[in-house]
């Protein structure tokens, strides 16, 4: 199919929302369309006026959503991976000597790969903390801390196990010990309340294209103390144009070049949609669908579920007697059900739960229905029974 020929897929059951949510709320599509229909307006970059200044409006909306004190401390990036790279490399660039860093086995490659690259260069030494019952405890973090530990990078919610980590006590402990704490909220932002006034993280990372209902290509982070992270990108900001050094004021310190206006507009509308529906209602729907799906799978012989009590709408499982990629192929092509198979960019989790072979993951959104869950579970049952014969 050529670009531009794609129609909305009929009868598609989309259960890959932990990767990218679909469908998007009509409000998001309308806002993106609106943003493309008018000349862009952003202070310092145009003489146009009268339209919405999406970066400013969205920063304020995000600050309200995450209970962040200063909207200017919300920075737009491409996605969570981009945010994590900017923060991790920026933090280490401030260091005068090699130091110790802690991460966890639950992490996505967006955390593991930047840290591994720095470890290979000798910039940091790295400890990877194990998880127990799908969670990483404060005790495990404390045990890994060394005299020169300066950085901890950890997920807020596992993209494979759907377990939300209790980051508040960890954040409090690390702050008291002057250790910079980056929390990867790619999987939690939009699913559960995040109160950055209450949780003293150094930085909180989010992406727009998952549960915040934005389009791919927009993400960001909140940073409490911008000086903790060195400037690693330079360029036009629309401000202070007479100086050849990057402004140190926020948000220009970390944002350079023209913004992704349609992406920011989608995030603006996505969060407003969540606020209208209510995060509680969205979470209840996700929990209901997830529990129902797990109940259905548990009735099926030959299915192993790796997370029977997830906090997020994510269910990882394996079908005996059939390769996961084959099962995913059959479900997609014969039943029109989209999930994700493989390692989900989280290789260390899989080493722990399935020996590194990977699994099938179903992940739900507010827009999935109970009928879709039942149909998906029935299709999986057919595949499992067929593989068992």
């Amino acid at each position: 199919m050529e670009p531009g020929q794609q129609n909305e897929p009929e009868g598609l059951i989309y259960l890959n929302n932990a990767a990218t949510s679909w469908p998007k709320p009509p409000e998001v599509i309308a806002e993106v369309t609106k943003s493309l229909q008018n000349p862009y307006f952003e202070q310092g970059r145009t003489t146009a006026g009268g339209a919405i200044d999406y970066p400013v409006a969205t920063r304020e909306t995000l600050a309200g959503f995450f209970h962040a004190e200063k909207p200017d401390h919300i920075i737009f990036t491409q996605n969570a991976t981009d945010s994590l790279n900017l923060l991790i490399h920026g933090f280490t660039r401030n260091a005068t000597a090699s130091f110790h860093t802690i991460t966890t086995e639950l992490e996505h490659n967006s955390v593991l790969r930047p840290l591994h690259a720095l470890e290979m260069k000798g910039t940091i030494s790295l400890s990877t903390v194990p998880f127990t019952d799908n969670h990483v405890s404060l005790a495990a973090i404390k045990e890994a801390i060394q005299a020169d530990t300066r950085l901890v990078v950890m997920t807020h919610g596992s993209n494979v196990l759907g377990s939300v980590q209790d980051v508040k006590p960890i954040a409090e402990y690390l702050r008291a010990n002057d250790i910079f704490f980056i929390v990867d909220g790619a999987q939690t932002a939009g699913h559960i309340p995040v109160d950055l006034t209450d949780i003293p993280v150094g930085a909180f990372v989010f992406t727009g294209h998952k549960a915040l209902f934005g389009i791919p290509g927009i993400g960001g982070f909140f940073i409490r103390d911008p000086d903790a992270v060195a400037i690693t990108r330079q360029g036009g900001t629309g401000t202070d144009s007479q100086t050849l050094t990057q402004p140190v004021t926020m948000p220009e310190r970390f944002e350079t070049g023209t913004h992704n206006y349609p992406g920011i507009a989608s995030l603006y509308a996505g969060i407003r949609f969540i606020n209208t529906v209510g995060l509680g209602e969205i979470a209840r729907t996700g929990t209901d669908l997830t529990n129902m799906f797990i109940r259905e799978l548990k009735r099926t012989k030959g299915i192993s579920i790796y997370n029977e009590n997830p906090d997020l709408p994510v269910v990882s499982f394996d079908i005996a007697g059939i390769d996961n990629h084959e099962a995913g192929f059959i479900l997609a092509r014969a039943y029109n059900i989209i999930m994700r198979t493989g390692l989900h960019c989280a290789p260390l989790v899989h080493e722990c739960i399935d020996g590194g072979k990977g699994c099938i993951r179903a992940s739900f959104s507010y827009f999935n229905t109970r009928d879709e869950c039942k149909a998906a579970a029935a299709a999986i049952r057919e595949v499992a029974e067929s593989a068992h014969r």
Binding site: A334, E382, V383, S386, A387, R389
Partner: protein, 136 residues
Amino acid sequence: MNARQRQPQSARWQRVRIVKSVQTKVCVDGSLMKEYVLDEPLTEGFLKFLEQSGTVRYLDNLKKPYFSFEKEQFISIKGFVGDESVEVRYKNEFRDLMGDYFQLLLYYYQQGVPGREKLNGIDESLKEKIEIRLGT
């Protein structure tokens, strides 16, 4: 009734040709995946042909009858009987040797028994090259 419908089932496989390749990607393990659209749906006859040189798995209790074919070091194929598209994978180590092996399968399949014999000869030659490369 058109010409295609008048033909007996046994002869329909003779028409199988690749119309186009719709997707090509290098997978995580380095293998090359290609998805082809064919001008005719695949039949059980093609699976019987494949069975003579590798392992065919056939799951017919699904919404669509699924098959996979594995000929180690040569090729793996996934698809559905009755579908006009098929996913083909070549292992990274021998991609250069196996480049058009799926087309060879279709070509010799249409020749029936003589085609099978010719393909066996090609398989032997490819096996030798694989063994030389593996140093076995």
